[in-house]
């Protein structure tokens, strides 16, 4: 770990980070890496956040898991002892915030829940950097790198519900009850790669933000 920190510290620049939020989160980093124009609009220009009925539904499921009411619709879902764990820490000088859906302190394992119509695959889980992001923040917060995590895909389906006459109907999103769980292990090298990505993204965001402010 000491060698890794030394290597990372070489990358930490002397210029102070100025960030629009007080931290870097997965959503910010992912938005920055995939769509800089949307990032600018949402985080620099106080624009509206992306909001779809699918995102809202996912949020509702997460809330149900947090407060325990999920059992009525998802009795087969496995959750750990701590839900919606908030992690605030510094990753090599970069303030980071993450929310882990479900966490077990004894094993240092965690679970992430995804809802959607299209099933996840082992390959997709392996490539999904959000899990690596969470593992990295856990490592810096607890001092222990998590060995593994689980991704629970909860299938959803839109169904038409009629409220009387045939024209008085609405499409509603709901869970089908089908859950597929994927296990993912972590490697030191990929955690280091994520740490470097976090630092690089934070620096880029800070630089872009300074330039944006200079346009005033």
């Amino acid at each position: 770990m000491d060698d890794d920190i030394y290597e990372l510290q070489e990358q930490v620049p002397a210029v102070k980070l100025v960030l629009p939020r007080a931290y870097i989160s997965w959503s910010q980093m992912n938005c920055w890496l995939t769509n800089k124009a949307r990032f600018r609009k949402e985080y620099f220009e106080n624009g509206e956040r992306l909001d779809t009925k699918f995102l809202r539904f996912g949020k509702v499921i997460h809330e149900m898991i947090e407060n325990g009411t999920y059992k009525s619709i998802l009795p087969d879902l496995t959750v750990f002892s701590t839900n919606e764990l908030e992690i605030r820490c510094d990753v090599a000088g970069v303030p980071v915030l993450s929310f882990i859906d479900s966490y077990d302190e004894k094993t240092n394992w965690f679970r992430d829940t995804k809802t959607g119509k299209i099933p996840w695959t082992k390959a997709k889980v392996q490539k999904h950097d959000q899990l690596l992001f969470y593992a990295t923040t856990l490592k810096w917060k607890t001092g222990r790198m998590p060995e593994r995590c689980f991704l629970d895909w909860i299938e959803t389906r839109e169904q038409v519900t009629e409220y009387g006459d045939f024209w008085d109907s609405k499409k509603e999103l709901n869970v089908t009850g089908k859950i597929i769980t994927f296990e993912r292990e972590f490697d030191e090298r990929e955690i280091l790669r994520m740490e470097q990505l976090i630092i690089r993204s934070a620096n880029e965001i800070s630089e872009a933000y300074r330039k944006y402010i200079e346009e005033i």
């Binding site: 102070k16 100025v18 960030l19 629009p20 939020r21 007080a22 985080y43 620099f44 220009e45 106080n46 933000y209 300074r210 944006y212 402010i213 200079e214 346009e215 005033i216």
Partner: protein, 168 residues
Amino acid sequence: MSTKEKKPSVTLTSYSIKAIIPTGPYANIQSEIIVSAKTLDEARDYVLPHIDQLFETYLNRSERRVPVVSQTKGTEVKPIAITEVKSANVVDVTVKPVEPTVAVADKAPENKPNAVDKATNAINSCLTVDALELIAKQIEKSVKLNAMEKLDLGMLVVNKQKALSAKK
């Protein structure tokens, strides 16, 4: 039955407004306008337009872009004429705008509304004191914002500062 008129117990003897106008990095002018008037409203109504004029003329003057004028043979650009009209206590500075005889290559910035919107959005969206400080400094030195806009944005910055401090 006649009612006695109450004489005012306070007489306005003088009214002054002091303005410190930044003209550039580590530079400013400090002007004070002192008048005597019968009422506060009269005095204020007289003094404030002069203060506004001073801001318009001198604010960040050293950092303002100078229009690039391309000269053709036989033409010359007339200099700006400045006249000062002095009375006992009032300084009045009048600036005659230049009428260029050749094309001006650099037009005045047309994006003033954008600068205000940008600044407002930046203030509203930032959640760190460091970012707010940077925004405040930029507002102060911006050539795209006039004095009144900077004052208004300054108030937004102060309110945001309070909100961020309250969160801590």
